[in-house]
Point group: C2
Chain length 586, copies 2
């Protein structure tokens, strides 16, 4: 029986569902895991990745289901909700099913957006743990990341203060770091716009090395990217050692290994290798692992989580951040390439609301009431906006995957509106299902579950958009044209110079292309809705993540540190001091 989502708030549903949530011991029995493979952390637990992958190494993989979306409104279109609802629906059909999602960042949770636990009857529980730090992975990443910066700045101070002889006494060689070419920064997991640009090291000889620096949000850390793509602990350790933190005065890279801090950084991240296990409101298992944003990073839960989930479950649902132009493109050309795994199907989450916005509906602003266009039937706006959905269907089809369009139902949607979306989606060659998981949980997601089961029986001729041999600028051009629908790409002189260097240096030959772009438009301009035409993608810089093996073309004005608004969520959060419960999460 589903909870009455029209009357109960999410945290109330969470509290009711949490009363019967499986304990770590019950999960162990339910999932057939061995004793040592479940590591309890209070009400939740981590799974021992290395033990499980070793024990199940000969078991065939389950079906691999990706969830993506159309270009969302700033409110989000319920991709996590759909992921959880689909798992619940497959569960109602008696399938052995699980999911992998990302850990939410404290930034959005404390700012405007709130938590990312899904909603209604398609909810991730326990909601407090999920929303506030889980089993500590982001903290571990933050500490490991900042330790790297401590090592870097302290080393610059000591090299400034000491002669070569004095350094040699401490068994240190001069790295001769170029203070104008420092790549590494600090991280914090809040929206701290005041730390976007800082001057540090103000003071005397022993107060560090004075330089410009910055804090990015922790989930944009290269360490988060590495956690998302590492295959195992050894791979994690090796990648951490290859991170380029700066360049020396001759232009050679200086790495964490050069700073002799890569081992200690890995020590801080030793537990992050193990995914956390939580639950849907209907008690289906959900792995939470890694939490990179999709506009500035890979935006996927981890390869590690998918690897064990595909061994543990017959149907495994994994979420890609934001819309198919970003989330699915990175899933397809980066995550699957790195993992070698092939998806059976991709679900494109769609709402009538977002399609109307793409058709020219008024601006949707978080925290303000929705304009009438979105709450009453409006087939004109909808029909115009469907172009955005069709574009995303085509993106997915280019990978060889036939998508399932999921209409994530709102109570204001009309039958005519739903029928129109369905007609266009099916004409474009996709399956389509209406899903009411928010209202009804798994019972509401049966149509979606059946469409997905059906799609999983099809053979997929999966092919990457580009081979790794393709030079960087050509790849970016291909992504811009084929995925975003641009006419071409323009490069700033700095970005082009960097791109040429990466293309000519064999050290970067097997690096993936990790686009950095807004999720609010197919283009780089968040104001251009629908399917923008006649535009050119501007690349202003190319970052290198040598540990993750990403070359990151930066398009538009994406920030690595969001800002806290004037009416942030933290205003409404508190603790009941008699019960210890957290109040006000939403």
């Amino acid at each position: 029986m589903a909870y009455d989502a029209t009357k109960l708030k999410d945290y109330q549903i969470a509290e009711l569902a949490e009363a019967n949530m499986p304990t770590p011991g019950q999960w162990r029995e339910k999932l057939g895991l061995e004793k040592d493979e479940v590591i309890p952390y209070g009400r939740i637990c981590k799974l021992d990745f290395m033990k499980i992958i070793d024990r199940l190494r000969n078991r065939p993989n389950g079906k691999y289901i990706n969830v993506t979306a159309i270009t969302p409104t700033p409110l989000g279109e319920g991709k996590t909700t759909t992921t959880l609802g689909l798992v619940e629906g497959l569960g109602k059909r008696g399938m052995n099913v699980g999911a992998a999602i990302r850990q939410p960042s404290g930034g959005p949770t404390m700012n405007i957006k709130g938590t990312a636990a899904g909603g209604g009857n398609a909810l991730a529980i326990p909601m407090t743990e999920f929303s506030l730090g889980l089993t500590g992975d982001i903290n571990d990443i933050m500490n490991a990341h900042n330790l790297g910066m401590v090592a870097l700045n302290a080393r610059m101070q000591h090299e400034r203060n000491y002669s070569d002889e004095e350094l040699a006494k401490r068994n240190l060689r001069r790295l001769d770091i170029d203070p104008t070419n420092v790549q590494w920064n600090w991280v914090i997991d809040f929206c701290a716009q005041g730390l976007r640009k800082i001057i540090m090291g103000i003071g005397g000889r022993t107060d560090g090395y004075m330089m410009e620096s910055k804090f990015n949000i922790a989930v944009s850390s290269e360490l988060m990217a590495i956690l998302a793509v590492a295959r195992d602990l050894q791979d994690l350790r090796e990648r951490i050692g290859k991170i380029i933190v700066a360049y020396d005065k001759k232009g050679n890279p200086v790495t964490t290994e050069d700073l002799e801090v890569a081992g200690a950084m890995t020590a801080f991240m030793r537990n992050t290798i193990n995914p956390t296990l939580i639950s849907t409101a209907e008690y289906q298992p959900v792995l939470v692992h890694a939490g990179p944003f999709a506009n500035i990073a890979i935006g996927q839960s981890s390869i590690i989580a998918d690897r064990i989930a595909l061994k543990m479950f017959d149907y495994h649902v994994t979420e890609s951040g934001f819309a198919a132009d970003i989330g699915f493109e990175k899933f397809w050309n980066v995550k699957c390439r790195f993992s070698g795994l092939v998806p059976n199907v991709s679900v494109i989450t769609t709402t009538i609301r977002a399609l109307k916005m793409h058709g020219g509906g008024p601006k949707v602003v978080p925290g303000r009431p929705l304009p009438e266009e979105y709450t009453r039937q409006n087939l004109e706006l909808l029909e115009k906006g469907i172009a955005n959905l069709l574009h995303h269907i085509n993106i997915v089809k280019k990978s060889g995957v036939i998508p399932v369009v999921c209409i994530n139902a709102f109570y204001t949607d009309t039958k005519e509106e739903i029928a129109m979306v369905r007609r266009y989606a099916e004409q474009a060659g996709a399956r389509c299902a209406l899903s009411e998981h928010w209202l009804k949980g798994g019972e509401g997601a049966l149509e979606l579950a059946d469409a997905v089961i059906d799609a999983c029986n099809e053979k997929v001729d999966f092919k990457y958009l580009y081979p790794l041999e393709m030079p960087l600028r050509q790849r970016v051009e291909l992504i811009a044209k084929e995925v975003y629908g641009a006419d071409g790409v323009s490069w700033t002189p700095e970005a082009e110079a960097k791109a040429k260097m990466f293309e000519s240096n064999p050290a970067y030959a097997d690096f993936a292309t990790m686009m950095v772009k807004t999720h609010l438009s197919l283009s780089h301009d968040p104001n251009l809705k629908g399917v923008p035409k006649g535009w050119v993608l501007p690349v202003r810089d190319v970052l290198v993540f040598a540990g993750a093996k990403f070359l990151c073309p930066m398009t538009g004005s994406i920030m690595m540190m969001p800002g806290t608004g004037s009416d942030p969520a933290f205003r409404r959060i508190d603790v009941d001091t008699t019960t210890g419960k957290v109040l006000g999460l939403f």
Copy 2:
């Protein structure tokens, strides 16, 4: 049977001992706890404070044993080792015993000092968890602290950018924060000297508010101080709301409650209320809770940990940071006053090495070999240095407690040296015991255990050094003269003006005096060893911790952010990627 500490390194002893360490479930049986009172976190667990204190509320308290020390060398004189050894010794005598210690900071652990897990057979295990983050309390404090600063700086930005009308639309009133009088800062739990002073908010209208700011080490956070002194969750919540983060342009305090962030900060700290349970190498229980430095903060494990430990154990040993002039003085006049608890005895940890240094021995430098004076018999230096021990004995006696001097044995100590210390200590009215817990574990600490048991039978006429009615400057004068042995106190004009303000404002009437002073000398000058004479204590500022209810006179040049040296511990730390074990901790 003790491990051979002369051959095995600490991490090797830890690994051997950890093989048979009690699981969370076994601890529950051993300590007679209820199921819900033990909250597992991997191999270790937290104890549910509120449930345990409620269930055992009518049980009489056990004996309350404090451990302090003489003025240490920069190497430390084994106070944690003695705490753990004493617990093991009392355990060997068949007593129901436990301890409370502080969580180590990542700063020293990654820098020169290494971990603070004790050593030899008096070791805290599991060592990796203990050294690297435990159950996340410091991370929770760091996040809660930094969220406060995010709220403060974002509010300053929005108040600058918006009119009163625009603020009112968001239900915000203008706090009118004085940017030149911001008290709150950022924290990070490493020795990041480059962040001691920063300029933040560089950029445009939406890049925060530009101002000078700083990062302190996380363990110096007022939130850590609050965790150490809070009696329960409600007290924690109330104290967090009273933190003064800045003053407005009229000079009125602006608090976290004014920023509407105190509830969310408490939400991040909701789990910190529960102490973590770990083990000695001989499987006696050790609570780890709070981790403030003693030179810049209260330097004690928490009141909460002591409250449940005194209910759970017949003998409870709690450690005070650094020497009796700092650690014991704060235990005596702040912690015990806030908790209402009365100690039965205080153990003064002493080493022959440190006494020789106080007698005029050469400088002791971490990472360099010990000069010969410390490794061969030298009764002359020793006899001169004993004055420091006698001074600390007198400090403890002023509280009404008769101390037990523990000579923490080194293999280079001679019989004559030990006999000399014993003679002086006993002449001064203290009990004295030689203890070889490092070498022999509990068997080596039986003499100490017996002396402590004996001392616990004495009636204690416990009295504070000063009543809270005494004005601030008079209190500081009293502490300087009676505890440190100064001739008087000098105040900078700024410090004196602040002191006068605090004295005249009834809001601060029940605040404790929390001295900030180096631990390396009885004076404010770390170079003055022994018992410095003819000096005046300089107070350069007075900080206010309105949530913790501390007024903190800052003496000498104590820094709230240590620096990372040129040969830090992180250079030698790594992870074995086949076993997942952390290597190189010491």
